[in-house]
C-alpha cells in the first residue's frame, strides 16, 4: 500500500496532464471567445464567454410580448458586441418582419451594421444562415425560427465552426406553456430570458430594464441563472446595482449570494 499510493498519485498526475492537454487542444479548436465583461457570468461560462464559432440558442421564458422583446434585445446586444469587436455586419434572418430598427440601433446595432434577410419559411431561413456562416465575412448571424430540429442545429453548428462565425438562434414560442428550448439541440449554450420589474426610482419614471437571464444548458458546465440589467447602447449587460455592491463587500464574484437561481 505504501508503495502503490505514490505510484497511484503519479499516474494520476500524468492522466491529469494528458487530460489538460486534450482540453487545451479542444479549446484551441474553438473560435475566439467573447466574454460578457461581467465576472459572475463569465466565470461560470465554460471558456469564459460565448464561443465565437458556435451555435447559441436564445428563447423568451414565456410567450408574452415583453419577454420576447427582452430576449430579442439580449440577442441584439450579443450580436452588437460581436460586430463591434470585428467591425463587420450582422445578418439577421427572419420570416415575419416586426423588428423596429431604431430600437435595435439603441442596442448597438446601427443600420450600417445589420443586414436583414427575409425568408419564406424556416427551411429557407436555415439555408440562408448556413450560407452566411460558411461565408465567414459576417460578424454574427441571428435567425428567428419557430422550429429547428436536431439535424438543423447540427448543421448550423458545423457551419458556424467552419466559417468561424457565431450563430444566434432565436427560438420563437409556438404554443403557450411549451418552452421552445425543450427540443434537443447541439447548441453550445442555451439561454432563456425573462423581463423583470426594474428598480423603482425616486421619481415616477422608468429605470434601466432588468432581465432574468437563465443559462439552461451549456457544454462543459452546469446551468445557472442571474438577474442582470438590460443592455446599453453598446449591447453590454450589467449587474444590478445592489448586487454590484454586495459583490464588492463580500470580495468577489465567487460569492454564493450572486446568482439567485430562480
Amino acid at each position: 500500500m505504501n508503495i502503490s499510493a505514490p505510484f497511484e498519485s503519479r499516474r494520476g498526475t500524468g492522466d491529469l496532464a494528458a487530460l489538460r492537454e486534450a482540453v487545451a487542444r479542444v479549446a484551441a479548436a474553438r473560435g475566439p471567445v467573447l466574454p460578457f465583461g461581467i465576472a459572475p457570468l463569465d466565470e461560470r461560462l465554460s471558456g469564459g464567454g460565448l464561443d465565437g464559432a458556435g451555435l447559441h440558442e436564445i428563447a423568451a421564458a414565456t410567450a408574452s410580448w415583453g419577454d420576447d422583446a427582452a430576449a430579442t434585445l439580449f440577442a441584439a446586444g450579443i450580436a452588437a458586441r460581436f460586430a463591434g469587436a470585428r467591425g463587420l455586419s450582422v445578418l439577421w434572418a427572419l420570416t415575419r418582419f416586426d423588428l423596429y430598427a431604431p430600437g435595435l440601433e439603441q442596442a448597438g446595432l446601427g443600420p450600417e451594421r445589420i443586414l436583414y434577410a427575409e425568408g419564406r419559411d424556416d427551411r429557407e431561413l436555415l439555408a440562408i444562415c448556413e450560407d452566411g456562416l460558411r461565408g465567414g465575412v459576417l460578424a454574427c448571424v441571428v435567425a428567428e425560427v419557430k422550429a429547428a430540429d436536431q439535424t438543423a442545429t447540427r448543421r448550423l453548428q458545423l457551419a458556424a465552426a467552419e466559417g468561424a462565425t457565431p450563430m444566434l438562434l432565436y427560438r420563437r414560442h409556438r404554443r403557450v406553456g411549451a418552452c421552445p428550448l425543450d427540443t434537443p439541440s447541439l447548441a453550445m449554450t442555451r439561454w432563456r430570458i425573462a423581463a423583470r420589474p426594474s428598480e423603482r426610482l425616486a421619481v415616477p419614471a422608468i429605470g434601466r430594464g432588468r432581465w432574468h437571464v437563465e443559462l439552461v444548458r451549456q457544454r462543459g458546465g452546469p446551468p445557472f441563472a442571474l438577474e442582470l440589467e438590460a443592455c446599453d447602447d453598446q449591447g453590454r449587460l450589467a449587474l444590478p446595482a445592489a448586487t454590484r455592491d454586495r459583490a464588492a463587500a463580500t470580495g468577489g464574484a465567487a460569492s454564493p449570494a450572486l446568482g439567485r437561481v430562480a
Binding site: R86, P111, Y116, I128, D131, G132, P197, S198, G209
Partner: protein, 512 residues
C-alpha cells in the same frame, strides 16, 4: 486627308435638323396645339427668351430668340412652357446612337438641334439618297419630329441648306455647294456673333457676297474663323467631327459539337464562357453586374438564366458559384447545342486602393459575394438594410435600402425593439389627462397594472402627406407593468383640443 476625323473628300453629308422642341409638343393634344399657339421659353440671365415656337405661333409673328414678354404681348392666348434642354439633348443623343447603329458608321449630334450623318458609301444600301432622305423623314415624323434634311458634299453646306434652304428635303449634287449657298443669309455659315455684326456693318448680307472678296481683307474684317467656315462650306477645307461610338454588349458564345444535357457538362461550358467573357471585360476595364445565359436546345427552344451581382465583379469563381445555384433550372430537353453568355449590365471596374490595410485595424471583408449568393437563394428582395427616413411618425421613419448601402441612423429617442405594424386599441384604460401615463389597461384579454411611466413624447401628424393629419397628435408613453414588461403606448389627441384626436389609447411597441 486622315480618315480618323470622319471626313473624306467627296463624302456626302446628310443633315437632319429636327425641331428640338418637338418632344414637348408630342405630349400635348394635337387639336389643342393647333387651336392654341405654343412657345417654349428658357431663362437667360434676367429675361425669358423664346427658344422654340409651334407653326401656329410662327404664323402669328413669334420667332425664336424673341423675349417671352414680347411674344405674350403679341399673342394674348399663348401656351407658354419651359424648355427642357436636357431632354432635347437626350433625344438627340438617342437619335445619333440609332443612326450609328442602323444607317451609317459615323453619326454625331450637331449643335442643339441637329444631327450629322456621313452617308457617303451607305446611302445605296437604302435605295439612294432621295429614298433614304424620304425614309428618314417618315421615321422622324412617326416619332413626332418635324425634320428638314439636306444632303450635300460638305457638312457646312448641309447645315446651311437644312436650316435656311426652305425645303423639307434638299439634295445637292457634288460641286454645286457654292452656287446653292450663294443666296442664303450669312448666318447660315455658323459665323460668330461678332463676325455677323461686322458683316452687317459692311453691308454683306448673302453668302454670295463673300465670294468675290479677296481673302486677305475678308479675314481682316470678319476674322479668320469666317474665312474658314466659308472654305469648309465650299469644300476647300476639311471639317472633321467626332462620331458617336455605340456600345456593344460583351458576349461570349460556344457552339457545341455534340448536344449536352448533364449538369456537369453545362457547368464546364459555363466555365469556358465565363473565361472568354471575363477576358473581354478585363480588356475593356469593365465589371459584370447582370449576365444572361442563353442555351439553344435542339428542339429550337431557348433556356434563359440570369444572374446579378450586387457590385461589379470579374471574379470567375464567384460568378461560377452563382450560376451553379441556377443550373438545375435549365431544362436541356433533347440536348443543348449552343450557349451564349452576354453581359447585359456592366460598370467600370478599375483596381481600387485597399484602405486600412497597413494601419493594423480590423479590416471589413467584402460582403458583396455573400450578398449575391444569398440573393440567388432567397431572391433579391429578401436582402435589405433599413435606412432612416426624415419622419417623426414611427412607422414612417424606416425604409428599405440596398444590401450594400451604409445608411444613416435615427435620433436617440427611446424606441421599442418590436412594433405592431398596425397599432392595437387598448380597453379599460385608466389615465389622468392630459399628460399622465395610464394606471391600468387591458390588451389582448389581459389586464396590466402600470407601476411607472415616461412621457409624453408628442408626435404631430404630417399634414403635407394627408390632410386628415392636419391637427392629429399622438402622445407616446413608455410604461412598465408590474410584471416588468415595458410597452410603448400612445393616445390620440393632446387631451385639450378636440381636433387633435379622440383620446383613444393604442399599443404600438414593446421595449426589451
Amino acid at each position: 486627308m486622315p480618315r480618323g476625323g470622319g471626313w473624306r473628300p467627296g463624302a456626302r453629308w446628310a443633315r437632319a435638323a429636327s425641331e428640338a422642341a418637338a418632344p414637348d409638343w408630342r405630349g400635348a393634344d394635337a387639336g389643342a396645339a393647333r387651336a392654341r399657339p405654343m412657345i417654349l421659353v428658357a431663362r437667360t440671365g434676367q429675361r425669358d427668351t423664346v427658344t422654340a415656337a409651334c407653326p401656329a405661333a410662327l404664323d402669328l409673328g413669334i420667332a425664336p430668340g424673341m423675349a417671352a414678354a414680347h411674344a405674350r404681348a403679341l399673342v394674348a392666348d399663348l401656351d407658354v412652357r419651359d424648355a427642357n434642354r436636357d431632354a432635347d439633348r437626350a433625344w438627340l443623343d438617342r437619335l445619333a446612337l440609332h443612326a450609328a447603329r442602323h444607317w451609317t458608321p459615323s453619326a454625331a449630334v450637331a449643335g442643339e438641334d441637329g444631327l450629322w450623318l456621313d452617308i457617303g458609301g451607305t446611302a445605296h444600301l437604302f435605295g439612294g439618297e432621295a429614298r433614304f432622305s424620304a425614309r428618314l423623314c417618315r421615321f422622324l415624323a412617326r416619332l413626332g419630329f418635324t425634320a428638314r434634311i439636306a444632303v450635300a458634299g460638305t457638312p457646312g453646306a448641309a447645315h446651311a441648306l437644312a436650316r435656311f434652304g426652305g425645303a423639307p428635303i434638299r439634295l445637292l449634287s457634288a460641286g454645286e455647294e457654292a452656287e446653292a449657298l450663294a443666296p442664303l443669309p450669312l448666318a447660315a455659315l455658323r459665323l460668330a456673333p461678332g463676325a455677323l455684326a461686322a458683316a452687317r456693318r459692311f453691308g454683306l448680307e448673302r453668302v454670295g457676297d463673300l465670294y468675290p472678296m479677296p481673302r486677305g481683307p475678308l479675314a481682316r474684317r470678319l476674322g479668320r474663323g469666317a474665312v474658314e467656315r466659308l472654305d469648309q462650306a465650299r469644300g476647300f477645307a476639311p471639317e472633321p467631327f467626332a462620331p458617336v461610338v455605340p456600345f456593344e454588349t460583351p458576349e461570349a458564345r460556344r457552339q457545341l459539337l455534340e448536344p449536352i444535357g448533364t449538369a456537369e457538362a453545362i457547368g464546364a461550358v459555363i466555365d469556358d464562357l465565363l473565361r472568354d467573357l471575363l477576358a473581354e471585360l478585363e480588356r475593356q476595364g469593365l465589371g459584370l453586374r447582370l449576365a444572361l445565359l442563353r442555351c439553344a436546345t435542339l428542339d429550337r427552344g431557348e433556356q434563359r438564366v440570369t444572374i446579378g451581382a450586387a457590385r461589379a465583379t470579374r471574379d470567375a469563381a464567384h460568378l461560377r458559384r452563382l450560376f451553379g445555384l441556377r443550373i438545375d433550372r435549365i431544362e436541356p430537353g433533347l440536348g443543348i447545342e449552343a450557349m451564349m453568355l452576354a453581359a447585359l449590365e456592366v460598370e467600370p471596374l478599375a483596381p481600387a486602393m485597399i484602405d486600412a490595410a497597413l494601419d493594423g485595424r480590423a479590416q471589413g471583408r467584402d460582403l458583396a459575394p455573400l450578398v449575391d449568393q444569398l440573393a440567388g437563394r432567397a431572391g433579391e428582395a429578401a436582402l435589405f438594410r433599413l435606412a432612416s427616413v426624415e419622419s417623426d411618425v414611427p412607422e414612417r421613419a424606416v425604409a428599405r435600402a440596398a444590401p450594400l448601402a451604409s445608411p444613416p441612423g435615427w435620433p436617440a429617442w427611446p424606441r421599442p425593439v418590436r412594433i405592431l405594424s398596425r397599432p392595437e386599441p387598448l380597453q379599460g384604460v385608466m389615465a389622468l389627462l392630459p399628460d399622465h401615463p395610464p394606471r391600468r389597461f387591458a390588451w389582448r384579454g389581459r389586464t396590466y397594472r402600470i407601476v411607472a411611466g415616461d412621457g409624453p413624447e408628442r408626435i404631430h401628424g404630417e399634414w403635407w402627406r394627408r390632410p386628415r393629419e392636419m391637427w392629429a397628435v399622438r402622445d407616446y408613453f413608455r410604461v412598465e407593468a408590474d410584471t416588468g414588461e415595458r410597452f410603448w403606448l400612445f393616445r390620440r389627441g393632446d387631451g385639450l383640443d378636440e381636433q387633435s384626436g379622440d383620446l383613444s389609447w393604442f399599443m404600438h411597441g414593446v421595449f426589451g
